[in-house]
Structures are given as C-alpha cells and as structure tokens.
C-alpha cells in the first residue's frame, strides 16, 4: 500500500493517479483510493486499467458497524445522532474506520498495489496519528483491536510506504520535508520515494540570449521579461529540488509541468509514461 502525501495544491491527486497508471501499465492490478470525496481521481484514471474507489468516514463507519454485526442498528445509530457522540467519545474513530476500510481492501488479496490519495498534509498527519491517540483512550472492544491492526499495517514496511509530493518551490519543499519527518516518526510509515510535480521547463540559458533585432524586434521586450522570470524561477526550482533530494533520504522523481491549465486523463497517461522512464532527467 502506498500512501501519497502532500500539502493541498502540490499535485498530490495527480501524482497518485500517475503512480497508479504507471503501475497498471507495468501489468500490476492496481486499486487507487480517494479519501476526500472529489471526483478528480476517477477522471484522471479514465482509460486505464486502474480501479478507483472512494472511501468516506460516514459510509466507512456504517460499513464497520454492519461488519461488527450491528445490522440494521447501524442506521438507527446514525439517525439518533449518537454517532456524533461516539465520535466525541473516541476522537479519531472516523479516521480509524477509514484506515480500517483501506486495510480491508489490502487484505482482499485482489490487488498488487493499493495507492491511497491521502487528505492534505495537516489533515493526513492527524488522520495517521489519530490511531495512536485512540489507543491511548479506548480501553477495549473491537475498536481497540481495529486500531492495533491498522497500526501494525502502517508500520510494516513490507505492506505500507509513503510517497511525498512537493512543488519545486521553497516553502512547499520545507513543508514536505517536515511531513516526511512526521511520517517516519511518530506515524511510523516508511518513506519510499518523493515526487516533485509541475517542474517548469528548466532554463539554462545566458540571461542576455539574443531574441532578435531590427524587423524581428517585435515582441522581444515582453519575451525578454518572460525569459527573465523563467530564469529566476529556474533558480528557485533547482535550489528547491536539490534541497528535497538531499533532505528526503529516498529516491526522488521529477514530473514536468505541462502547458495546460489542468491535467486531464490524457496528460496523466503522458506523465505516467515519463514516470515509468524514471521521471525528468
């Protein structure tokens, strides 16, 4: 199971879809799980052999209660509002049932790889640490057993690993490295790899590259401005990527920023091809 982690807006969902698609092309049976209820993941995996599932806290809890033999009781519990009180009684219970559902998929044995598009950074770590928090509160019963089993799954480097996604910018890299540290300890999930997403074409040109003169001078001034901008972006990009590579302690792949406003399924397939080739040079 691969947990794809990153702050909002760094391209985490795209990275999850790209990893899943790349693995499916390699012939693996891949399941990708979305936890935030957005349809993006399904759209990005269209036209591939990847299976997409959405898991939400509400449905997972109901499923869990049904599995525990509470039967039609689950509905009454939900209607009575007591679920909210249970949630209050055992903070993290929603996160636990979500992770429990993921574990259930893992135990089915139908999948060679399960990719989880985790929620955004702060939320993801609270989700992952909530299992420990819950173990500190709940003294017994099935919930405790579930928490123990989920923790064992997360901490087993054979079964679970994390992929950290970042943008090639100063603050996102710092945040991603912090997230990597938390993922290792206290969460206890091994960090397997990093992905730098949306890398702009890196300019390695002399700043005063001749763009044209005389009759060809039209448009040169704005082009020059774009070029100068590109060069300073390239500097930040280079510095950020090398800091990420040095700090992560795991292999890092780079994916390009495509000249589009938003990545669609076709773009994701293209990126998956680039990832299979090891990412950008």
């Amino acid at each position: 199971m691969l947990l794809v982690l990153g702050k909002g807006g760094v391209g985490r969902t795209v990275a999850a879809a790209v990893i899943a698609r790349a693995a499916a092309v390699d012939g693996l049976r891949v399941l990708v799980i979305g936890l935030d209820g957005r349809r993006t993941l399904t759209e990005l995996c269209r036209g591939s052999d990847v299976t997409v599932r959405m898991v939400s806290a509400g449905s997972a809890l109901e499923d869990y209660l049904l599995d525990q033999g509470f039967g039609g009781f689950a509905r009454r519990l939900a209607e009575s509002g007591i679920i909210e009180v249970v949630g209050a009684a055992a903070p993290g219970i929603h996160d636990l049932v979500v992770l429990g559902k993921v574990k259930q998929f893992a135990n089915e044995g139908r999948w060679d790889l399960i990719v989880v598009d985790a929620p955004a950074a702060g939320h993801a770590t609270s989700m992952l640490t909530s299992v420990d928090g819950l173990l500190g509160i709940v003294d017994g019963g099935p919930i405790r057993e579930q928490a123990v089993a989920v923790r064992a799954m997360l901490r087993d480097p054979v079964r679970s690993a994390a992929v950290l996604v970042t943008l090639p910018e100063t603050t996102p890299v710092s945040e991603s490295l912090e997230l990597a540290a938390i993922t290792r300890d206290p969460v206890g999930v091994a960090v397997a790899a990093g992905i730098v997403s949306a890398v702009e074409p890196v300019l390695d040109l002399p700043p005063m590259t001749a763009l044209g003169s005389g009759r060809a001078a039209k448009g040169v001034a704005p082009a020059r401005a774009a070029l100068e901008r590109g060069l300073s972006t390239a500097e930040v990009t280079r510095e950020s990527i090398s800091r990420f590579v040095d700090g992560l302690g795991a292999p890092v792949a780079r994916l390009p920023r495509l000249p589009v406003a938003g990545v669609d399924a076709e773009d994701a397939a293209l990126l998956a091809g680039i990832l299979r080739a090891g990412g950008l040079a």
């Binding site: 807006g9 007591i82 003294d139 074409p201 763009l211 774009a226």
Partner: protein, 365 residues
C-alpha cells in the same frame, strides 16, 4: 480605488476561503498588510493547521495563540500610515480553556471541566471542536477594540464550511435528545426516552468500551449550566458571519478542478445565506504581452541554439497563459456581483515581508 482596496478599506471582518493549495494564507496576510498600510489596525488569524502565516510575515518564532505585532515598517514593506498589523494562530486547546472560563456559571466549574482528561483531547482532535473554537476566536477579535479589521484565513473549503456552520452545529447538538439524555436533564420525559435509548448506549459501550462512555458523560456533565451562554454566543457568531460589514473573499486558482470546487463552495455559502464579495484568481501565469503561441513558435523555428530554446520557452509561457485564460473566462469562477481579481504568480515564493508586500501591491493595483 481598486476592488480589493474598497473591500479592505470598509469591512470589519474579511474571511478568505477557497480550496486547498490556492494560497489563502498568503492572500490573507497580503490583504492584512495592504489594509494596515492604508492606516487600519488589522489582526490576521490563521486557523489552518499548516503554519505558514508566521513565515510569510517574517515572524521567526512563529505565531502564538495571542496576537503578535508585526513590524510592517521593516525592510521595504512600505510605510504604515498609522496602521498596525497583528497576527495570531488558533490554538484550539488555549481557545477551549478561554471559552470554558468565560462561560462558566459557578466557581470552580472551569477547573473541573478542564481537569477532565477528555477535555484536552477534545480541544485538539475532536472533529468540529477546532472549527467551533475558530468561530469563538474570530468573534472575540471582532469585539476587541484594539482592531478595526479582522482577516480570517480558513482551512480548505470543505472544512471552512464547518467553521461557518460551527455555531449552528453546536446549537443543534445542545438541543439534541442524546445530549440531554447524557446530561441527565429534562425530567420525566427524558427518563422515558432514556429507557428507550439505553440499549443504544450499551451498544456504543460495546464498540468503544464502557470506560470511554463514562468519561464522556462526566465530561458533558461538567459543562452543566453553560448551555445557555453557549447558545447565546452561537447566535451572535451566526449573525456576525452574515453581517454587512463581514466580507467573504473566495480565493481560487486558474485550474479547472479548483475553479469547479470554488463554484461549488460559493453555492454552498449562498445556501447558508452568505454571499461572496470578491473572487481572487491567485497564482496566474503572466501574459507575454503581444506574443501569442503561434508567433513565438514561428520565431523559435526561425532561430537557432540558445535563441531557439528561449523562444520555445516563451511559447510555452504563452500557451500556459492562454490555457488558464480559457479556464477563468469560460465557465469561470465568477460569482454574480463579485468582481474577479487576477493575481500573477511571483517568480519566487512568498516567505518574507517584502515578497508579501509585492503580493499586496499586485492585489490592490
């Protein structure tokens, strides 16, 4: 004056909301800085667990649960015109203690409630609590005479709605039979209900362990008598969100999924009786004036070596700009009656006061 200038010049509360990763925190800080430089006394509060605001404001020690004054005359951030900028980060535990102390109805009650082992974990990890604490903090700041503008940085949209709805959720919970049952109030009717619901509690006990349930009941009972005051506050906060002097700024980015999420969020706000006053499309790729994709490609084809690669890059920039314009101008994130302000991405990211000042300048130009 610009749309942003008008807004930060007159509002009492500005709420920055929108999907994750669009730069809400930075935008909130930049709006705060711009307002302070125009002479207002501003406090910016972040309720996002991601702690970027302090960094952007150049506060090396980070932000605390109390407003910290930001030295806006430092560096090239520009003059302050008598304005002030303060910033703070929500600490749910500290806020919970404040709330409990301010609502306590008898001596010793606050200490009793706070000493319950449950109270601590509830302030930090219980879903909804953090959101409720955020509304409490915003309310408190809005009545604080030191400030004439409160800028709120909210968590990503789905959670932001929880912040807005927190007072309503609390009122519903306080009125809920289960709550009354657990509190042991309501007399005979409740006792009857209680008999009917006992198996429910037993079932819950079976799932989470009875020790936990006992803790919860003790926890809720330690709050006895505070319900009235909680309810009054919830009503006041509800009114504050919908007050004419409270402005909602929807921050978005020129990406199709982000724009779609922003539209949904604006609709949800609308159903909650809240209108969006301004839309900011953040981190747009700048236009290459007068150069379109085709002409830049033609130039690249005519050139060689470095010049060719340079023009290819220019074509790439023009292509990104064109693609983003389609997203913003097509179905767009536009909300009726709310101006759309486009802010170009900076070449470097915002990590100190002078880069923040560039964002503020771009916002108000």
């Amino acid at each position: 004056m610009s749309a942003v200038g008008d807004l930060i010049g007159s509002a009492r509360v500005v709420v920055c909301c929108g999907p994750g990763g669009v730069g809400k925190t930075t935008t909130a800080a930049a709006l705060g800085l711009a307002a302070a430089r125009s002479g207002r006394r501003v406090v910016v509060i972040t309720v996002d667990p991601a702690r970027r605001l302090g960094e952007a404001l150049g506060l090396v020690d980070g932000l605390g649960p109390d407003p910290t004054r930001v030295d806006i005359d430092a560096g090239d951030a520009g003059g302050s015109a008598g304005g002030e900028l303060w910033a703070m980060m929500l600490d749910p535990e500290v806020e919970l203690e404040r709330v409990v102390r301010s609502h306590a109805v008898r001596p010793g009650q606050a200490d009793e409630a706070l000493s319950n082992p449950f109270t601590r974990s509830i302030g930090t990890s219980l879903g909804g609590t953090q959101e409720y604490m955020a509304t409490e903090a915003v309310y408190r700041l809005s009545t604080d005479e030191r400030f004439d503008l409160v800028v709120v940085d909210t968590p990503p949209s789905d959670r932001a709605l929880e912040v807005i709805e927190a007072p309503d959720v609390l009122v519903r919970f306080l009125d809920h039979q289960v709550f009354k049952l657990l509190m042991g109030t309501g007399g005979r009717v409740t006792r009857l209900l209680s008999a009917a619901t006992q198996p429910l509690l037993k079932a819950v006990g079976r799932v989470i362990g009875t020790g936990v349930l006992d803790d919860v009941v003790r926890f809720l009972r330690s709050f006895t008598g505070m319900e009235h005051s909680f309810r009054e506050r919830a009503v006041a906060v509800r009114r504050l969100w919908r007050d004419g002097s409270t402005a909602f700024v929807l921050v978005t980015a020129p990406r199709p999924d982000t724009v779609a999420e922003s539209r949904r969020f604006a609709e949800q706000l609308w159903s909650a009786g809240i209108g969006v006053d301004l839309v900011i499309a953040n981190r747009c790729s700048p236009a290459v004036d007068g150069v379109d994709v085709a002409s830049a490609r033609a130039r690249a084809a005519d050139a060689e070596g470095d010049a060719r690669r340079a023009w290819e890059y220019v074509a790439w920039c023009a292509e990104v700009h064109a693609a983003e314009s389609v997203v913003l101008e097509g179905d767009g994130p536009t909300v009726e009656g709310a101006p759309l302000v486009r802010v170009d991405r900076l070449a470097t990211d915002v990590h100190d006061l002078s880069t923040l000042a560039s964002v503020a300048a771009a916002l108000t130009s």
